[in-house]
């Protein structure tokens, strides 16, 4: 039997706010335990939550970016359960009526485009962390993370392969970092996925029983976990068994998922509207001001690069891989009237290679967009050949400076003095009469010999086009 896999993803995106979802504590990563937990985070008696306006703005921006409906009125609800690192004994989340409803994200897998429908995105607060090591039989609790704002983004069960799920996760990651609502740091847990996986016989419309795999904090783990889970469920079904609805955990060391808790011991969270908070009201003017602050989105920019600037889909993809790449490229275009394709070639070629070599992010590139623009202007106007341009680039990379100054100091500009070039050619023809004769006898290959010699004689500064033309004219002349 052919089995089809059905995947839906729930992604917890940690919002890049200064303070927590409902308290004034800082959200920075890596502070010593419990140093970023105030009376509200500790859930002392009597404390109250106040929603973080910045976090709401992030949710609005996300909703706009995926074409979702922004609820003018949404509710915070309490999700009740006991856990030592959940200080209030409930998590403030959104249940009925989340702030972001619907929307979609475009992905492309092996050249085929899909639209991944979103169910919702809602605001909630993170829990703290239980530390089970280092305490000699006791557990420690670190509440620094407690109350950190999260946007949980939920898709419909519309993905059909691990590759699609990973493509969606990557696109989502690009989007949330692009619009600046998340730092995207997966190691620190700023972006983590739960995957709902089920299988069904090819052609069946009803969904199979799903398992939820929790806390996948890398694209690779996401892919492996889904693949393992698919194989596990298929094996189970083909062996005559059935899938039990449960929550599973992926163990990267063993590359397998294992059961955490089954639906039978699933808790009743007793959701109800949080009476400490008023309905969350978002008016049209707030939405419009967030829309105005939204940068051009990656997909739109990619289309513009292809259709107005004539870049290839491949280059457009590379240049919109992240906000930083796009910003670099757009800044480069802004610097002057340099050919967009030439710019694209350099950014995706020379610059990308150099950055990769040194393991640097484009945002901290040693050669700034204005430096590169200065260099490319000289390529465009013919002052520099491609080869010379690379030399100047290397100097800019190593030593900094301005292209024009480097060209002048090192005498690297192409010879544009036709008379001087003619002199070089004349001299070569005098020195190599046999080769001249050979060429005139029809041996075209000898042409290359003269180009090489001329370049050598000019220290590579001859303009190749000019040299070609002049050489052909002189050699042909009897």
């Amino acid at each position: 039997m052919n089995w089809e896999m059905v995947i839906g993803l729930e992604t917890h995106v940690q919002l890049a706010t200064v303070s927590k979802m409902f308290s004034g504590s800082a959200t920075a990563f890596g502070a010593p335990p419990n140093q970023q937990a105030n009376e509200v985070d500790l859930a002392l008696p009597g404390v109250l939550p106040v929603p973080n306006r910045q976090a709401v703005a992030c949710a609005i921006r996300f909703g706009l970016a995926v074409g979702a409906n922004i609820a003018p009125r949404s509710w915070f609800a309490r999700k009740n359960y006991f856990y030592p690192d959940l200080p209030k004994g409930y998590q403030i989340s959104q249940f009925e009526l989340p702030i972001v409803q619907g929307g979609a994200l475009e992905i492309e897998v092996e050249g085929v485009r899909h639209s991944v429908q979103l169910t919702r995105a809602h605001l909630e607060e993170d829990a703290g962390k239980s530390l089970h090591e280092d305490f000699h039989g006791r557990s420690g609790i670190d509440l620094n993370r407690a109350g950190t704002p999260l946007l949980e983004i939920v898709t419909e069960p519309v993905m059909r392969s691990a590759a699609e799920a990973v493509a969606y996760a990557r696109m989502l990651h690009r989007l949330v970092t692009w619009i600046g609502i998340c730092d995207g740091n997966m190691q620190e847990g700023s972006f983590r996925c739960d995957a709902n996986v089920s299988v069904r016989p090819q052609g069946q419309t009803a969904l199979g029983t799903r398992c939820e795999i929790k806390n996948l904090n890398s694209f690779r783990f996401l892919e492996r976990a889904i693949q393992f889970e698919f194989a596990r469920q298929v094996e189970l079904l083909e062996g005559g068994g059935r899938v039990i609805q449960e929550t599973r955990l992926y163990d990267p060391d063993r590359d397998e998922t294992r059961s955490m808790r089954s639906k039978e011991d699933a808790q009743d969270y007793r959701y109800f509207p949080d009476p400490d908070l008023l309905p969350l009201c978002v008016d049209a003017s707030w939405i419009e001001s967030e829309r105005a602050a939204l940068p051009e989105l990656p997909e739109a920019l990619s289309q513009r690069l292809q259709h107005t600037l004539g870049l290839s889909a491949y280059d457009a993809g590379l240049l919109t891989a992240s906000r930083a790449w796009a910003e670099y490229y757009l800044a480069l275009l802004k610097e002057g009237a340099v050919d967009p394709k030439l710019c694209a070639n350099w950014v995706t070629g020379e610059l990308a290679a150099a950055l990769k070599r040194e393991g640097l992010e484009v945002a901290v590139s040693p050669v700034s967009s204005s430096q590169l623009a200065g260099l490319l202007a000289r390529v465009q106007d013919g002052t520099l050949s491609g080869k010379l341009a690379k030399e100047v680039f290397d100097i800019l990379w190593r030593e900094g400076g301005v292209a024009d100054a480097i060209i002048a100091a090192q005498g690297l500009s192409q010879m544009s003095d036709l008379a001087a070039l003619e002199g070089v050619i004349d001299e070569l023809m005098v020195q190599h009469p046999e080769q001249v004769a050979e060429f005139r006898g029809g041996k075209e290959k000898v042409f290359g010999f003269f180009v090489g010699r001329a370049m050598k004689a000019t220290g590579g500064r001859a303009n190749p086009a000019q040299l070609n033309e002049l050489l052909r004219r002189k050699l042909a002349a009897v």
């Binding site: 009376e39 500790l42 859930a43 002392l44 008696p45 009597g46 404390v47 109250l48 939550p49 106040v50 929603p51 309490r78 009740n80 006991f82 030592p84 200080p87 209030k88 004994g89 409930y90 557990s139 609790i141 009743d268 007793r270 959701y271 109800f272 009476p275 400490d276 908070l277 008023l278």
Partner: protein, 492 residues
């Protein structure tokens, strides 16, 4: 000066004219409290040293002619308000070791005004009770009759003011917890509009109903204190920003033409004859002052108790989840794993009534019951609110008995929770509607126990409400009566 008969204004004048110092005044009250607490049980915590530090600071401000109307005046605070450096128990064993590291907004307001914290008053555990019998710290006795309850949950504050152990006491009201004990102890009490007083630092029972308020002998004293207490606080999302208000603004306004709404449902059977008689006399007094009676209807008022006992426990079951023995509060000595630690700590830390409400609340929020109980109760709550809003189209103030009966003896209702719950039948609707309301002394029953008149106003109508109460207190002296028990009144 006779502490039995002194208003806050007189105390403030005495402090300003240096007739006595805040230290002297505080010591006098502390002495009374110390002597009588063993009998009355009003205070869970008295800490004279801390009180006197504040009194000395107040005296310094007064010496520089600084400070405000409350500077140097001792105030008793219900033990529901977190008070930095003070044990803050909320009447529970669960918080028997909890010294608050921060001040509730209400405490901050009084501290900044120069008030002296006299002590923390006894209360029903987590404000759940109508007789103060659920406190882990023992019963509070009604100063008018020591074998009767003072009411609850703010029984300690009410009894302390009644016995004049404090000139002013903070309290809180979720279903009547200010008005009912005020009525039973013969003092004046005000529950402000929901959102008028910050709930930050006031330990939550039922968040959508809880509201901090005050008790004092007279309406004028309450107006004095409410000016300090009422304040917008950005740390409480349900706090309402309003322009500063003078709560004395209507005190000189005659009551001519005041329309007093009398809900049919508050004068039916079940109301004690003495109570009905006292209400009638109070209303005649108001008529003499120029007010007119208007019969009104609150058709859903019989549903207020059942609605309240769905919503309040639902919120409480969640609000009290934080008491898990992990970070502070009571932790069981013996336990195996984490779940057991949490379970046992809660089993040992909470009393029976609190457990009853947590269980009720968890039940009505459970899958399969949520719609039938919680959602349905929310719908009826809106109907009850509508009733009040419609009533206020016909009248300016609603009046009726605060309670159907005077104080009852200890143990009379402890075996039957529903009977206990019904003692709040006239007060609960106000919380469901978020309205301001008062209870003021309006006479005594056959056994010499005080009776309370309830006044209910439209949202943010506290100034008018206080004035209406004040005009009555100008022509009556019920609020000046002090129980014989405490009438010996030491002098300073």
């Amino acid at each position: 000066m006779n502490l039995d008969r002194t208003s806050l204004r007189e105390l403030a004048d005495g402090l300003r004219s240096r007739e006595f110092s805040s230290v002297e005044l505080t010591q006098a009250y502390l002495e009374r409290a110390h002597h009588q607490n063993e009998t009355l049980g009003c205070f869970i915590t008295l800490d004279p040293e801390r009180s006197l530090i504040q009194a000395r600071a107040a005296d310094q401000r007064l010496a520089r002619a600084e400070g405000g109307p409350l500077t140097g005046i001792p105030v008793a605070h219900k033990d529901i308000f977190c008070t930095a450096g003070w044990l803050t128990t909320c009447g529970s064993r669960m918080l028997s070791n909890f010294v608050a590291p921060y001040d509730a907004h209400v405490i901050t307001r009084f501290n900044e005004a120069g008030g002296v914290i006299l002590g923390k008053t006894n209360m029903d555990e987590f404000a759940m009770g109508s007789s103060n019998e659920t406190s882990f710290y023992g019963k509070v006795r009604n100063p008018w009759s020591l074998d009767h309850v003072p009411g609850g949950s703010s029984g300690g504050s009410a009894a302390a003011v009644a016995a004049r152990l404090a000139p002013l006491a903070t309290a809180s009201d979720t279903g009547g917890s200010i008005r009912q004990p005020a009525a039973l102890c013969g003092v004046s009490g005000i529950k402000p509009t929901y959102g008028r007083v910050s709930r930050y630092g006031m330990i939550a029972y039922a968040s959508s109903l809880d509201q901090g308020g005050l008790m004092a002998p007279s309406a004028a004293d309450l107006a004095w204190g409410l000016g300090i207490m009422a304040d917008y606080d950005e740390r409480d999302a349900t706090s309402v920003a309003r322009p500063e208000e003078d709560f004395f603004q209507d005190f000189e306004r005659p009551l001519t033409g005041l329309r007093i709404g009398l809900p049919r449902q508050y004068f039916g059977s079940g109301v004690d004859a003495d109570v009905a008689q006292a209400m009638e006399e109070a209303l005649r007094e108001y008529e003499r002052l120029g007010a007119v009676r208007v019969d009104i209807d609150l058709p859903h008022s019989d549903l207020s108790v059942p609605v309240y006992y769905v919503l309040a426990p639902a919120e409480a079951s969640s609000n009290l989840s934080r008491y898990d023995g992990v970070r502070y509060g009571w932790r069981a000595q013996q336990y195996g794993d984490l779940q057991e630690m949490i379970g046992r700590s809660r089993a040992e830390g909470f009393g029976a009534e609190v457990k009853r409400r947590i269980l009720t609340g968890a039940y009505v929020l459970s899958q399969g019951y949520y719609d039938a109980y919680y959602l349905q109760a929310q719908r009826v709550r809106r109907l009850i609110q509508q009733d009040f809003l419609q009533a206020f189209e016909q009248c300016d103030v609603i009046m009726g008995p605060t309670t159907p009966t005077p104080a009852f003896p200890f143990g009379a209702k402890t075996e039957d929770p529903v009977q206990m719950y019904l003692s709040d039948i006239f007060t609960i609707g106000v919380n469901l509607a978020g309205l301001p309301a008062m209870s003021i002394p309006a006479g005594f029953g056959a056994q010499g126990l005080p009776l309370g008149l309830q006044l209910i106003g439209p949202h943010f109508g506290e100034a008018r409400l206080l004035a209406v109460a004040h005009r009555y207190q100008q022509v009556t002296d019920w609020h000046r009566r002090v129980p014989v028990y405490a009438a010996a009144g030491e002098r300073v």
